[in-house]
């Protein structure tokens, strides 16, 4: 198992931080933190759960995954977009802690 971390600065000023574990080629856990806004707030934990099991080799599909999650769950994000969360996760995957 490997632990990865990254900080990703969103254009406009907000910060996304990622800490994740990779096990057998897939995300086994992920923590997304930062100073963005997400409504309803409980959605972030659900998003994290939904990312568990995503295969690292399919990581380029992350933006679509996050987009679909946000629209299906009627989630509004301020200060970051799906592509920022996806970019932050990709950055973490390239940055073992």
């Amino acid at each position: 198992m490997s632990v990865c971390e990254a900080e990703y600065k969103v254009a406009g000023g907000k910060m996304i931080r990622i800490r994740l574990n990779v096990k057998e080629g897939a995300l086994s856990s992920i923590r997304i933190t930062g100073d963005f806004f997400m409504h309803p707030e409980e959605a972030l934990e659900k998003l994290e759960s939904s990312l568990r099991g995503v295969k690292v080799e399919e990581a380029e599909g992350l933006e679509r995954h996050i987009d679909a999650f946000l629209s299906e769950n009627h989630v509004t994000v301020l200060g970051a977009a799906s592509r920022d969360f996806a970019a932050a996760i990709l950055k973490a995957l390239r940055t073992p802690a």
Binding site: I32, T33, F36, F37, H39
Partner: protein, 256 residues
């Protein structure tokens, strides 16, 4: 038709748990339909760091420095960034209003702009050229003087925010990890370039009571309501006491 009345809570200084518990208790009351639309003004004693709901306490806060300085650390129910609420140098407001009031824009960004307007008008009354700067700041010539954060639950809105009266920059740099690694003169100057205070903008030491009175008027004008001094209800007090247990728990503070 007379002017609509809102409740005004002039709350003075409390500890971090009480402050956040009271904001949430009023929100709960609003959701249940038993609390009136409310503007609350308050300060923090002891000084405290509040972090956004999605932030990690270890990433944002130097807990050891906070312990040494006697600074409280608390997680908010609202998103956004970490704020140092200086006991002497900062004023916080909160607004609670049901969405059914109808005047608050549904769009989040527009609702920040709308609810921040009371602060903007109050600041302008004090001669400060304040303006709303998306997403959630109020700035003066590009420098931040206020940060704001909002949540919506079951049809009610809570927005709270901070107004910098005078900053204690050395303490900010000790308690927050932001730019901590670069505790250089350069970092301090860069910070000073991004942030301003009422003291800097007006050139005189802000008198808290006068500032509060001016902001109250600003909110009355912006929201087109009359703010009538009131108190927490028994129900809100009881709810706040319960919520204080959540806010003081390790589980809550360290959940991220």
């Amino acid at each position: 038709m007379g002017v609509e009345e809102w409740r005004y809570l002039d709350h003075g200084a409390s500890d971090a748990c009480t402050n956040m518990a009271v904001d949430e208790a009023v929100l709960q009351g609003s959701i249940r339909g038993v609390s009136p639309p409310t503007l609350r003004l308050y300060t923090w004693k002891p000084s405290a760091v509040s972090i956004g709901f999605f932030q990690s306490v270890e990433q944002e806060v130097d807990l050891e420095a906070c312990r040494e300085l006697g600074v409280d650390v608390i997680r908010r129910i609202t998103g956004g960034g970490a704020v140092y609420h200086d006991r002497q140098g900062e004023l916080t407001y909160s607004i609670v209003v049901p969405e059914s009031w109808g005047k608050t824009p549904k769009d989040f960004l527009e609702s920040y702009r709308f609810l921040c307007r009371g602060l903007v008008l109050g600041l302008r009354q004090m001669g400060v050229e304040a303006e709303f700067t998306p997403i959630n700041d109020i700035t003066v010539r590009g420098r931040k003087i206020s940060g704001n954060a909002q949540t919506r639950r079951s049809g009610s809105i809570l927005q709270h925010g901070t107004l910098l009266l005078q900053t204690d920059i050395p303490t900010i740099f000790r308690v927050l990890k932001v730019s901590k690694e670069k505790l250089s003169d350069k970092a301090v100057r860069a910070f000073e370039g991004r942030v301003t205070t009422l003291l800097k903008e007006t050139g005189r030491k802000p008198e808290l009571e006068r500032v509060k009175e001016t902001l109250k008027k600003g909110f009355e004008e912006a929201l087109e309501v009359r703010l009538t001094p009131g108190r927490l209800t028994e129900g809100e007090r009881a709810e706040a006491e319960k919520l204080k247990r959540k806010y003081s728990s390790r589980e809550w503070t360290f959940r991220r």
